[in-house]
Symmetry: C2
């Protein structure tokens, strides 16, 4: 019933499921390992006879009780089987970075919320990798806040690899390509309609050489972004948010902010509405045409900019008085958020169709959302101004 | 940014946008006619430079002030240019039927609601066809009730036509295939968590011979169904609903109910959840291997069965007292409804991507919906029983 999906290398992920580069496939029996809820209760599943045209599934995750020091395979982490230099590998340092970001963001959010606490779920996959989901739900300030990290070891079809980065030697016919991917993803939905939603996601992707062509080149790239989705515009807030993004970018390359700002406006486009999900920020993907260390530093800088970009805004707006009408408009915009994430977001749609951890993927959805038939804000109203800025993206910094 | 979609002939539509058989395409300039909201206000659109990989768009609709006697082209309706026999054509009779069903259902719903009134929007498309959307929002009984009819004249790629019904003569290389499609679609969401949501959709599809191969065979088929989505199970209600569906089926063919009941369970499957949207009913598509008159009668019988199948249930449950917990569970199930419609429903996803009338397509979404992280009903609870029945479809009639 599902359309087959084979993501192009330019596909992008912004959901809490940060890996979407390829239609993963597994030559093992995990192909039949369809996603299922891990019910504490005992509802037995019917055997469902849908034709499974999905070309890949991710291994089913297993809940674990304690978060491990690392989700890397031993051979990757400089432990028993690894060399000590592996501890300094980009994958090891990237995992360390995203876990530190998860910790610092969660700490900052609990402090702002002044009541809500994050619930943590940790899981691992038999073939290596795993993740930590943290969710704060129905707090004082946040309706729903999810901050996830995950590490995935997978195998992708050689066609995808070749499509991604053509191998110079056309004679090489690689087999399945092992890959590594790691990322942090977060969506924060506050209760107050004047406090904006924010989303960020930073990820690193690396392929091994194909198993049967060990001489073929490895590949790596970085992707990510941070974007703001208010229901009402406070220009000072939007400017502050964008200026922090620009500041992070400018430390590395003056071309980054204008380029990634536009990329963000283009990516978060709800095509059927002709409008963007929100007021943007920065977004980039498949970034590998710079020095690898520089891009690791850049990703780290961006991820560390989330707190200074966002927390002052939510602090300022969390207690602003509002009416039922303000709340209803926020809920309508939340409906747009749902539409974008379920219809367009590559990470979400890929995750849903390949058997990622559903509750982690869909924690990006707001606690509540609303759809009114043919709602049209009055010209010149605050709601109209927001919609206008979603339809016609603005340059916030001059 | 969008994956290209080319629906197979087995694709199915259940949304309020009943036409999804093919990736429509138009050789005219309407290809660039991206969907846009018809704002009463004057927000100017930015020119958006997304690559448009969608292979087809539907012509932009124009609001009209009065509903016409028919949406058929003159040549189809036995009018000025048509022959009088056209008034008895299947397309003419099908349009008459769906418009009568729209009227009778809306009348019955307003009566049950005892307050809410339907708002009507009528539109037409320059190349022929059009539709009537009727929405009752925030009534006494119904949170949101949409009942739409539409008639589409379009052109589809010859590949789709050939895939649909292989042409015996392999030498025929047809050009674009003109087609006709008409349908009624409806989703009714009551407020009371004990009153179930119902959806129905009946549609008729017909191709002309290709313009450059007038001798090639015409094709036609019928599709549709009616299905029930409660948040709580009252067995007598579900049995009543299914028995009315079975009654309609049994008048025509004893194999219909078991076959279409299973088809319904299979279609409304939320794959990433491993559960169905609701408790089913009947669903069929691409039906053309019976007498055409018989199938027209059968579709009519099914559409006319909506009122006796549903109205007694909503009458019985609309005033049942409920708690906040009951409401929250209904809202969670509404979230599942949104997930199915935006992620899987062929009609919705097709409509969104080809430029159908957005407000008509998305009127199927509930007024409000909810997503809680990792919600799991207590074993044996009423919520658990509903979930169990969505995971393991039951035979309601014995």
């Amino acid at each position: 019933m599902l359309p087959s999906i084979l993501c192009s290398p330019s596909s992008s992920s912004t959901s809490l499921f940060p890996f979407n580069y390829f239609t993963l496939y597994s030559p093992s029996s995990s192909l039949t390992n369809l996603p299922s809820l891990t019910y504490k209760t005992t509802i037995k599943k019917s055997t469902h006879n849908h034709s499974t045209r999905v070309q890949a599934m991710i291994e089913k995750e297993t809940p674990v009780t304690q978060r491990p020091y690392t989700f890397l395979r031993e051979s990757d982490e400089g432990g028993a089987e690894g060399s000590s230099s592996n501890a300094n590998s980009v994958r090891a340092r990237f995992e360390k970075m995203i876990r530190e970001v998860q910790d610092s963001v969660c700490t900052a959010l609990e402090e702002v919320d002044g009541g809500g606490k994050f619930k943590e779920d940790v899981w691992s996959r038999p073939g290596g990798g795993g993740g930590i989901s943290r969710v704060l739900q129905d707090g004082n300030v946040f309706e729903k806040a999810g901050v996830n990290v995950s590490v995935v070891y997978g195998v992708m079809p050689p066609e995808a690899y070749r499509a991604a980065r053509p191998v110079d030697n056309g004679n090489v016919k690689p087999g399945p390509i092992p890959f590594f991917a790691a990322g942090v993803s977060s969506v924060l939905h506050p209760k107050n309609p004047f406090a904006p939603t924010v989303h960020f996601n930073y990820r690193y992707f690396e392929t091994d050489a194909p198993n049967d062509a060990p001489g073929a080149p490895r590949q790596w790239w970085f992707g990510g972004g941070t974007d703001l989705t208010p229901a009402y515009i406070f220009e000072e807030d939007v400017k502050h948010f964008h200026s922090v993004q620009k500041g992070a970018c400018d430390k590395f390359d003056a071309s980054f902010y204008p380029r990634f700002k536009k990329w963000c406006d283009d990516y978060f486009y709800i095509k059927h509405r002709g409008e963007r999900r929100g007021l943007g920020g920065i977004f980039f993907d498949d970034l590998n045409d710079y020095d690898q260390e520089m891009l690791l530093s850049f990703s780290t800088e961006c991820a560390n900019s989330v707190i200074p970009a966002y927390i002052p805004i939510v602090e300022k707006r969390k207690d602003t008085p509002f009416t039922d009408e303000h709340k209803a408009w926020q809920q309508l915009r939340r409906g747009r958020y749902v539409e974008f994430n379920l219809v367009y977001d590559r990470g979400t749609t890929f995750g849903l169709k390949t058997g990622g951890r559903i509750e982690s993927i869909l924690v990006s959805l707001p606690l509540t959302a609303r759809w009114e038939y043919d709602h049209q804000p009055v010209e010149g109203s605050e709601e109209w101004k927001l919609l206008d800025a979603c339809i016609n993206p603005k340059e916030w910094l001059h």
